[in-house]
Point group: C2
Chain length 436, copies 2
Amino acid sequence: MAMKKRWIENGTFVTMDETQPVVKGHLVLEGDRIAYIGEAHPGALVDGADRMNGSGLVFMPGLINTHGHAAMTLLRGVADDMVLQEWLTTKIWPMEGRYTAQDVRWGTSLAALEMLKSGTTSFVDMYDHMDEVAQVVEASGMRGVLMRGAIGLCPEDVQREKLAEAVQFARSWHGKANGRITTVMSPHAPYTCPPGFIEQFVQAAHDLDLPLHTHMSETAAEVERNVREYGLRPVEHLEKLGFFSRPSLVAHAVHLTDDEIALLAQRGVGVAHNPASNLKLASGVARVPALLAAGVTVGLATDGAASNNNLDMFDEIRLAALIHKGVSGDPTAVPALEALRMGTVYGAKAIWQQDRLGMLKAGMKADFIALDFEQPHFCPHTDPVSHLVYAGNGRDVRHVWVDGEQVVDNRRCTGLDEEKIRAEAQHCYERLISAI
Amino acid sequence: MAMKKRWIENGTFVTMDETQPVVKGHLVLEGDRIAYIGEAHPGALVDGADRMNGSGLVFMPGLINTHGHAAMTLLRGVADDMVLQEWLTTKIWPMEGRYTAQDVRWGTSLAALEMLKSGTTSFVDMYDHMDEVAQVVEASGMRGVLMRGAIGLCPEDVQREKLAEAVQFARSWHGKANGRITTVMSPHAPYTCPPGFIEQFVQAAHDLDLPLHTHMSETAAEVERNVREYGLRPVEHLEKLGFFSRPSLVAHAVHLTDDEIALLAQRGVGVAHNPASNLKLASGVARVPALLAAGVTVGLATDGAASNNNLDMFDEIRLAALIHKGVSGDPTAVPALEALRMGTVYGAKAIWQQDRLGMLKAGMKADFIALDFEQPHFCPHTDPVSHLVYAGNGRDVRHVWVDGEQVVDNRRCTGLDEEKIRAEAQHCYERLISAI
């Protein structure tokens, strides 16, 4: 059977490919791949293709959310503006403690809706009841980098159970849904996992040939505690436990010394930068210009909706472009294009898929989005990169394709029932809130 | 003739009125005022009223943008991520130097479209060719606090001409359009106006019984220069020139000492806080928690689109709630409700209209907006204030009323021709860009 072909003409394409950054012309997708992108007519390639007029739209690679906890959408707006420990112990943990598989299902479905409609095509998810998450990813058409995140502050038999669950999940889902699902091993954080528990995850990652992900150096207090308990700052601590011997991604990395940055660069560790969450929880401002200068791959992320409180990656891109200028006093810090790279190409590299995601280029996976540029805030039409970063927003996204399939068509998710999901999520929330 | 009446039922109203913060029920508007808001049925008051079902919508006071240069929308995305002086001298000033009255007309029309569609009902505008701006405000149905901003780095006869123009404009438009237009006297900034020129504006403000507005202490360099040239920091300098003897509003106020904050509080000076612009131009982060603690009225603002690059006040509200937490390390700094006050009630006070704007309350002007809350990023329905601040965005605005008139109906501006304005703005931009 011939592969499905679609031909988009008259589009403006922000490719993130340095050989042709902005293309005004044509894109052809064939099956799950981009077959052609260029200004010249694609010729015979488009024989028999579905044809679409891309005029008035700006196309770009789908956004990659490199760290989060999707099911936490159920806790959106439950509690804000509180001191971290009080927020966790009086609000978040009591509600999360009551989560069932159904809550994870509907909370993740809600997250998938919100992410797809705002242009995110791939997301990293660390949570519990991950089979539910994987099923939502499968149904939604999104791409997910999934892991059972394990907290090790528990008896050894419970630790063993969690590790076994994480391994079982990683093994059964890796590569599923035409490769849209990949899996990762993930001890939650150095401050919630004893060293031996982390080492078991590292060993499992070696055995399964999978990458590793964890939270690291989010707050100054956590770094101090690591030094107090283990005599090392978190980067050296994880290095000593062998964590960076695997392809690895650390979330937050707000509090880093120059030496730590150098070590992350040397070991090829990716960083998931969560600007909104770090600001909202008052964790601080990550040293992103220094990380980028050192050659560390920095992706962007929303974190969970309880500490953001939205999953719109355009907000993170804009924040990344703005805050590092304001805090450093250097207006050239993190230029618009660099912020957009963090949301696309660098994100792809952070999740070890730079060979197929993050760029509009022949041969890459057809994961891309189209924004409605015929709006006042995008007028006049000057530099589309500037407009995407400084004026764009998830609500400007009109269409989304993942793996060659159109998963959002004129702002409707094709694989998800939005009204049902919102109603079910509301019910889940009402049951959870009744407990606190 | 009986005044027009409209009755909105089944709405959720975030009132900003501390006596009833969130009302689930009814709002009645009569003529240009709110006649009733409450949970109980309004009774005979709604006889003969147009009836509207507010279910699924969250209503709140229209947003107040306390500082900007609307016509600079024509320069959106022309140049970003540059050092301030280079940006001004090689890009912004050469293009602004070519502005005609027509450019101001279409640039301001574009800004009005963008502001109204994103929920801003009142804006402060400091620019040139202000008759054009006033005409746009009149046609759009918005509320404008307008002034001819004057730079005094010119020969005395040109200074005199500018002052006369500013006076003439202020006199002819103050109170026009059923009071939707008010005027202000505005020397551009202490670093662009000799002391004598500022004193002439202060005198004119006294003569006309009008308030004053200026840029102040936006950058550290500007403060240093003020000290070098006049032996005083900007606050004391303006105080000495009599500026604060009038009701006054200063834009930016990023670099302030404790003594300066105390003086602003004592003199009742309002501050227009521009978080995005201050970050993008790397001016720094204003001491907003200290200003609020001292009792200074802090409104929010977008500044011109060239340094933002959008006019969505929800972005400024969210930034105000986020950055001061991240920079201070205090997660309770600028809570969501306080950020929302900055965009509404405090903004109303900053423009000297707290008796009629900024709150949904019987007797206040009917300036309010309705957001579509049946969307994934507002689910579950928990705290609407949190959702507006942390998850909301101008593109969620569906309807807008100003002075009792519906000026945005289902995302269409009723008083402006969007397609014509976007086309004309594009033409203006193309002519201006051809010069540099």
